[in-house]
Symmetry: C2
């Protein structure tokens, strides 16, 4: 495995040492070649569209197609524009159908029509069908390239079928058994291999088959995969006819994508499928400014509450020193709870029926946490401000408010995500930023009310 690095590749291409380049690349994995080409293009200078096309053309047909599937869409577009119709057809013919659909989804209309023009009518029909499924549905991530047998086939017929068409299918190791196009079960290649040649496939079929509908959400597809440890999952239409399969590699991508999306939403960013570095400044601003504005304006209420207690603040400015400690602690407690609940629901561990159980648990956690925090805080305040007049009473007011704030925060932090789920809003929206803003309002009100009572204003 003599991998070729960026420097070496750049030198070879500069000197147009194509034979050496071809030999070096031929040993590499397509994912690595795609990455290398991306890095070379990113450097600019001596490496442009001409060089990219040149390198791509030295790759063998099969390796070229695989490499193409792993490339970023901007590189793919450069190549498509450089290709002759025949070259384009050669690459598209070698691609798996679901990869072709993924590529088409990223391309502008003129490129799409060129791709479709250079595709066999049969394949074109399948591509169009796949393109029609809603975004993020099982249908949109499946491939129609699977192997199926009729339940009356013999083992020999089945194995011969795998031999003859297997190489162009995404997976042959789990095959599907049908009766009048309806899915009746699965059979593994291994079961076929160890069985007698003249056995009937039906006898080997596992009829306890897990499948999903074409319109099922990709997140729930990922759950099913993880729950049953499947290598591939058949997708059926409303009449239980198998129309495609989803393989483990697509699911790994879905899980990673959904996770990135959750983390974005949980941090008040509108999710964006492009990578960070490739996204322009204004697109970044667009994903972020919405929530910032909403949350900033919501903070008006906290401001108004503070404003209401102007007299107390003027009389005892020291009160203000504890506001950020209180609101921060409230925000942290709330985001801890909401994160736990959001993630618990995403992992299918917490359900809506557990509402009261969760609420009661969070309340008990809040009581224990707030007690510890209050004690530490009391000591801290008394130590730091020991020269201030009436500090014992002030510290007491702060700590009482702290306990109430923590309880409020934990309760809001667990209620909001569950309510969101109930009303079919993404629970991840109800996370740190929103919870913090709401808790701020409550904790400020609690704090000044407690202080007003205890400190005799």
């Amino acid at each position: 495995m003599d991998k070729i690095d960026k420097m070496k590749a750049a030198i070879l291409i500069k000197h147009r040492a194509l034979v050496q380049l071809k030999n070096a690349l031929q040993e590499m994995n397509p994912a690595d070649i795609a990455q290398l080409l991306g890095e070379l293009m990113g450097q600019g200078d001596d490496f442009g569209e001409k060089e990219l096309t040149l390198i791509f053309r030295v790759l063998s047909k099969e390796l070229a197609a695989e490499t193409f599937a792993y490339m970023d869409s901007d590189l793919q577009m450069i190549l498509i524009n450089a290709f002759s119709d025949r070259e384009l057809k050669a690459v598209i013919d070698e691609l798996f159908l679901d990869d072709t659909v993924d590529i088409i989804e990223e391309m502008p209309a003129n490129v799409v029509s060129r791709i479709l023009k250079n595709t066999d009518p049969d394949r074109r029909k399948q591509i169009n069908e796949l393109l029609n499924y809603p975004e993020d549905s099982a249908g949109s991530i499946m491939t129609t390239e699977f192997v199926f047998f009729h339940k009356g086939d013999t083992v020999k017929e089945a194995i011969d079928r795998v031999r003859s068409i297997g190489l162009v299918k995404e997976t042959v190791y789990t095959c599907y058994v049908t009766e009048q196009r309806q899915l009746v079960g699965t059979v593994t290649l291994l079961d076929l291999l160890v069985a007698d040649d003249d056995k009937i496939v039906e006898e080997l079929t596992d009829t306890n088959v897990i499948c999903v509908g074409t319109h099922e959400d990709q997140e729930s597809v990922a759950h099913t995969f993880a729950k049953y440890d499947l290598p591939a999952l058949p997708v059926v239409d409303t009449e239980n006819r198998i129309v495609g399969i989803i393989t483990y590699d697509d699911v790994i991508d879905v899980i990673r994508e959904e996770n990135t999306e959750d983390i974005s939403v949980m941090n008040a960013v509108v999710p964006n499928e492009d990578s960070y570095l490739k996204t322009g400044v204004f697109k970044h601003v667009k994903s972020r400014i919405g929530w910032l504005l909403v949350l900033m304006i919501s903070a008006t209420f906290t401001g108004l509450i503070t404003n209401h207690f102007e007299a107390q603040i003027a009389a005892l400015p020291l009160l203000v020193s504890f506001i950020s400690m209180l609101t921060d602690t409230g925000g942290n407690c709330g985001s801890q709870s909401s994160a736990m609940i959001i993630q618990g629901m995403a992992m299918d561990e917490i359900h809506l029926k557990d509402f009261w159980k969760v609420l009661f648990k969070e309340l008990r956690i809040a009581l224990v946490c707030s007690f510890i925090l209050a004690v530490v805080n009391f000591v801290r305040i008394v130590l730091i401000y020991r020269n201030e007049e009436g500090i014992l009473m002030i510290a007491t007011a702060v700590c009482v408010a702290l306990v109430a704030t923590v309880c409020l925060a934990k309760v809001i932090g667990c209620i909001l995500p569950m309510v969101a789920k109930k009303i079919h809003v993404d629970p991840a929206v109800m996370s740190a930023p929103l919870v913090t803003t709401i808790v701020d309002c409550g904790s400020t009100l609690i704090y000044f009310s407690v202080a007003t009572h205890l400190l005799d204003f």
Copy 2:
């Protein structure tokens, strides 16, 4: 597929209708049976350890073992305690080696020694080896049950080998080709099937093999999987001898586990592998109180800064009304940036060498965002507090502080995770809670300094 629900199962077991129960369960998927048993145990009342053991015993040997692998460890423990040595051995013998190791890791010492006592010496040796790999390493999640051929074997010999031992191996679809135990490449079952019987395996071998070392971290294993779309990944020791494989299903679990861990850490919770509902209140408190204390005490600095400007607050209490809007917006901006950077690094899209590029990008995003926020905020303040004296000047001070705060927050939010990565600390630690606390301190200082200057105190 007549699945049996909780109610029906409870009735059947109550009336000890074991034949019906057996028939119903036999049609189900082991993951669903395990879930059903867990739910029944959770209900208490009429369903206890006796009923659990009873149901488990009606399952066929193979289904029983598979169901066992999917169960929670507390249910597994109940069953192990109820098993005779012979029953225990029957279940353990049917399990895949990596599942056995997972079970053992969750059990107390006396149960472990009982399991090992009822295992063949050969298997016991392999289990002990797997147990010795560090937690979360490739070695700890791999299985030693893979199929390998010598490079001189013929295709016929290879297929016969798959036929004879394939059923007890985790995957047979990618097999490994060795020379004196060293890994030289992979060959797929499909390649073997379409080749002539007397061909030599070496000719079909793909020598461009991706593998990982036994001590490699599971997170980087997951990256490799996602990058190369692999069904299984060979694990080699320091001398390039293949010692195990990791399959896609284990990787899906790793990715989900790492996601949960990241979200916990990003919300100031120490990760905990148990599910939310099964974790006791005090264990939850233990995962949360540490960061709450650290962050609360850190807020002391913000308090001291506020305290320093007591005179200004006493003279103009209205100033206080804008603190929480400023610190919240700063916190939100900072957590947006840190989340994007943390996630970008986790997905291998952002690297340390991009430091200046990222910093410059965040700074530009900050300028655009803060300009929009400042304009909206100025209008908001002037509208709401139009009757206050000198409000134009106050609004100006708030907005200048807002711009500075947003820029500070975005810069801190992108620097901290990258610095963490540089010094080999988990970047997820540098997220919303910590960033917010640090930004609070800075934004309070900026705000009061700006106000002091502009408002002529």
